[in-house]
């Protein structure tokens, strides 16, 4: 096929035609994508799709609402909402930890939740968010390398000689930092710094994230690591033969805190719809989904954790609101302990 061009076809005409074409395409796409009816619930979810999508489908069906979701990292979603400001199309923001929500609260982009929603589950004093599930900090260990009797009751033991070079942790990871923040709030900065320095001096190995630690423990690269309980529960489903297991520190130990995943309502969004959805997340059936399917700690409607997931005597969330503002000081402490993050 021979393309035919007029010999003196001026470049200008081509550029004009091309730009016209672009504008028209853009316009067409805008019309196609731009429609948005009023009964649409828009969610920015820091929880990954596999851990919430079935609930969203059920909510859409039961309430006859259109639900649209953006899944991404909680911190990045918070930055996106900051950039969007009052123009944000979002009604609800679900975060894997309270930090990103506190960041938005400081920018006054969140709506205070109603009392009847807050009453359903643990929540922030500032009324900006309510917890929907909990993830407990645990020690994941390799059963072939550590006998159950030798497991530590407290994280303070991890700085002792018998654990030299055997522990992995993820200083750049958000949930480790949340744990350090709660540790600081309950026991003071000095004690937290001492512990961090002791851990480093004891040859603890650093990793990029929880998954990397659990995998490293499973293949015996290290004997144990500080993680959220969720990751090894998930690995057990993927690979029932894994030699890795979770160990809970004693109740009241700084290592046994719970990290909340939380929901909040955007001030630019539809409050009524947002709260209807958050209430739905805290209903017994939804909480049972979190307990049985995502293997987390349910926090409302009296639902119990799944079989095999050991429940603490009381759920210790530490000082809730600390998890927003305290992060900067936590990062300083982690650096002071000689860790490069």
């Amino acid at each position: 096929m021979r393309p035919k061009f007029h010999m003196q076809y001026p470049l200008r005409t081509i550029i004009h035609t091309a730009s016209m074409f672009t504008v028209l395409t853009a316009a067409a796409l805008f019309i196609a994508c731009g429609e948005r009816d009023d009964e649409t619930l828009t969610i920015y979810s820091g929880r990954s799709e596999d851990l919430i999508a079935p609930l969203l489908d059920r909510f859409a069906e039961e309430t006859d609402t259109k639900v649209q979701v953006r899944y991404a990292d909680s911190v990045e979603l918070a930055l996106l909402i900051r950039e969007e400001g009052e123009q944000s199309p979002t009604d609800v923001f679900i975060s894997q930890s309270p930090g990103p929500i506190a960041f938005l609260a400081e920018l006054r982009l969140l709506r205070a939740l109603s009392e009847d929603v807050l009453d359903l589950a643990p929540h922030s004093d500032g009324r900006q968010w309510v917890a929907i599930t909990g993830r407990q900090r645990v020690l994941v260990y390799n059963r072939d390398q550590i006998a159950a009797d030798d497991l530590p009751a407290s994280i303070f033991e991890l700085t002792e000689p018998q654990w030299e070079g055997r522990i992995g942790f993820a200083p750049s990871n958000g949930s480790f930092q949340d744990f350090v923040t709660l540790f600081r709030m309950d026991h003071g900065d000095d004690m937290a710094l001492d512990w961090l320095q002791g851990l480093v001096a004891n040859g603890a190995q650093t990793y990029g994230n929880n998954n990397a630690i659990v995998q490293a423990v499973a293949r015996s690269e290290i004997d144990a690591g500080l993680v959220n309980h969720y990751y090894n529960e998930r690995l057990k489903v993927e690979n029932p033969n894994t030699p890795s297991a979770n160990h809970r520190f004693a109740d009241g130990d700084p290592g046994a805190v719970m990290i909340a995943t939380a929901a909040s309502a955007l001030s630019s969004g539809d409050q009524e719809l947002a709260e209807q959805f958050i209430r739905f997340l805290l209903e017994a059936e939804s909480q049972r989904y979190f307990a049985e399917e995502t293997l987390e700690y349910p926090l409302a409607a009296g639902v119990k954790p799944a079989a095999g997931i050991e429940a603490p005597a009381t759920i210790d969330f530490g000082t809730f609101d600390a998890l927003g503002g305290g992060l900067e000081r936590t990062l300083e402490l982690i650096r002071e302990a000689g860790l490069d993050i």
């Binding site: 470049l11 731009g34 990954s48 799709e49 649209q68 990045e76 969007e84 650093t206 659990v214 990062l331």
Partner: protein, 553 residues
């Protein structure tokens, strides 16, 4: 620019039999329309830089203190060290593999030509996780070797880990442009050298290598910029670079994070500009590419060549594929693990289609958009050339998060664009800005390799500018353009931050599926989606890149 570039004009003009020297070519003024089109393109590419500047102006003056502190300098030095070492190694490997697959009688060349570019398509975090599972202590390799008494492999982390993973997923940035250059290189040179009695290695060193240099350097620069922008691998390996610093501070100290982003942008611009200044002009051999390519018998070198290929492709592709298959297999045999919240494989159909359509569209739009700039900078002398080149190329070094946020910023503040917010055109624009550099550098090599006398001849025959472009120049430039488009395509297929933040709501790609599955520890899902991604990219690479280039031979 080059102040002395006109001094030897008389000599070259006086000798019409010599190939056109770049100096001579550069002496000509660019047509106004070309300059205008290039400037418009560059303005589009400047959006993320403008965004960083605005964000730094509106914040308190954190920039100066950020630049001066050790907390910036140390990671900056580590970033540069990693980027330099990875890009040099990747240039070596990429060039060598391209020569072996394009010029020798190695068995299974078609397979290798498809396999060699593929490691590029693995998202950093998947490549990293899969390689850890393969090579770390207690991993696949150690289990395979344990019957032979091998144990106690070293832990993979820090600089060595980041170096290994990044090198094995970035060498395709060099491989594709160099292979494309080899495809369009006139064989007369090599044949002449051999007739004059040169053996293959001296022939390569003295005749072929100088011709590959522009393509190989272009790829090396892309590798450098990719490493500077990477977050997934360095984060997983615990190697602190400027990017990890940007990520740790992005929530607690947003203004410092933006200041560091600007530092990174400035470093990238400086590197790109110095690379252009430092580049020596080579007399590019242009001519009709061979109908029948040169084939060099490897002889006793055959095992070594095969080993080089198996080694490189093995580390970057085959071992990760084995690990990913193992994860996916566990999902297939164990119902609880496999494809939990999805309806199995059918859930991957839509993301696959989305991936294919956006990545091909991003490739085509990128090539079309950067072509005027490539013509301007490779062929004409213009005061705009240096800055245009820098803006288009340096955008590749910015973290995807910055690109995504700059799109949001622009769309919500420019009234005419707010309608485009969270639509496909805007996502496409983000891809083009982020990855256009890859198409651009290849296009530049392509433009440089077209003998201008052909165009002149066509002009004397009365062909207009567009007709010359369409009928004479584009066909000759097809291999490098396809290679550049191929790089954009593969990069778009794995892109995450911009896709996650700027895509239309509910728009899933394979990369976002892999990410979400990996985040939740759904290894079987992540493995299966990764395998589909690799398969689809292999198919597209073959259809759109390899066949395009082979077509001419």
């Amino acid at each position: 620019m080059r102040p002395d570039s006109t001094s030897d004009l008389a000599v070259t003009v006086a000798d019409p039999s010599s190939p056109p020297r770049r100096e001579q070519v550069l002496a000509r003024r660019a047509p106004i329309s070309l300059v205008a089109a290039s400037v418009v393109t560059a303005m589009v590419f400047a959006i993320p830089f403008g965004y960083l500047v605005v964000r730094n102006l509106s914040a308190d003056a954190a920039l100066l203190s950020a630049v001066a502190s050790r907390q910036t300098l140390d990671p900056l030095i580590r970033t540069l060290w990693l980027a330099i070492s990875v890009s040099l190694t990747a240039t070596l490997i990429g060039t060598l593999l391209a020569w072996i697959t394009m010029r020798t009688d190695l068995p299974g060349r078609t397979f290798w030509r498809i396999a060699c570019p593929l490691p590029l398509v693995l998202p950093s975090f998947v490549a990293g996780a899969a390689m850890l599972a393969a090579y770390a202590p207690g991993g696949l390799l150690e289990q395979l070797l344990s019957p032979f008494g091998v144990s106690g492999l070293p832990r993979i982390d820090g600089y060595p880990g980041a170096f290994m993973v990044l090198t094995s997923i970035t060498y395709p940035y060099v491989y594709l442009p160099v292979a494309a250059r080899l495809a369009s290189l006139p064989p007369s040179l090599e044949e002449a050298a051999r007739l004059l009695g040169h053996r293959p290695i001296p022939t390569f060193r003295r005749v072929v290598w100088p011709q590959l240099l522009p393509a190989s350097r272009a790829g090396g620069l892309l590798t450098f910029l990719y490493v500077v922008s990477d977050f997934g691998v360095v984060q997983l390996m615990g190697f602190q670079t400027l990017t990890t610093r940007i990520f740790t501070t992005r929530l607690v100290d947003t203004s410092l994070s933006f200041a560091l982003g600007l530092v990174l942008a400035i470093v990238a611009l400086v590197i790109v500009m110095s690379e252009r200044l430092a580049s020596r002009d080579v007399a590019i051999a242009a001519g009709e590419p061979a109908r029948r390519p040169v084939v060099i018998p490897l002889g006793r070198w055959r095992p070594a060549a095969l080993l080089a290929l198996i080694g490189s492709v093995g580390i970057g592709l085959i071992a990760p594929v084995i690990v990913l298959s193992w994860w996916a297999y566990r999902g297939l045999v164990n119902e609880a693990a496999g494809f939990a919240s999805t309806e199995g494989m059918t859930a991957l159909i839509e993301p696959t289609w989305n991936t294919v359509s956006v990545s091909v569209a991003a490739a085509v739009v990128s090539v079309a958009l950067v072509l005027p700039v490539a013509f301007l900078t490779a062929r004409y002398r213009s005061p705009f050339a240096g800055p245009l080149n820098a803006v288009v190329v340096a955008g590749f070094a910015l973290p995807g998060l910055v690109i995504a946020l700059s799109m949001v910023f622009m769309a919500l503040r420019v009234p005419a664009l707010s309608a485009l917010y969270q639509t496909l055109p805007l996502l496409l624009l983000a891809y083009v800005i982020h990855f256009g550099a890859q198409a651009y550098r290849s296009a530049q090599v392509g433009v440089g390799a077209v003998d201008e006398r052909l165009g002149e001849a066509a002009r004397t025959l009365g062909a207009g500018r567009l007709r010359r472009l369409w009928r004479v120049e584009l066909p000759l430039m097809l291999p490098p353009l396809a290679a550049g488009g191929g790089l954009v395509m593969l990069s778009t297929m794995k892109e995450l931050p911009a896709t996650l933040l700027a895509a239309p709501l509910g728009f899933d790609t394979l990369a976002t599926r892999i990410w979400t599955a990996n985040e939740g520890g759904f290894l079987a899902d992540a493995g299966m989606a990764s395998l589909v991604l690799i398969a689809v990219s292999a198919l597209l690479t073959w259809l759109l890149v390899i066949r395009r280039a082979d077509h001419l031979r």
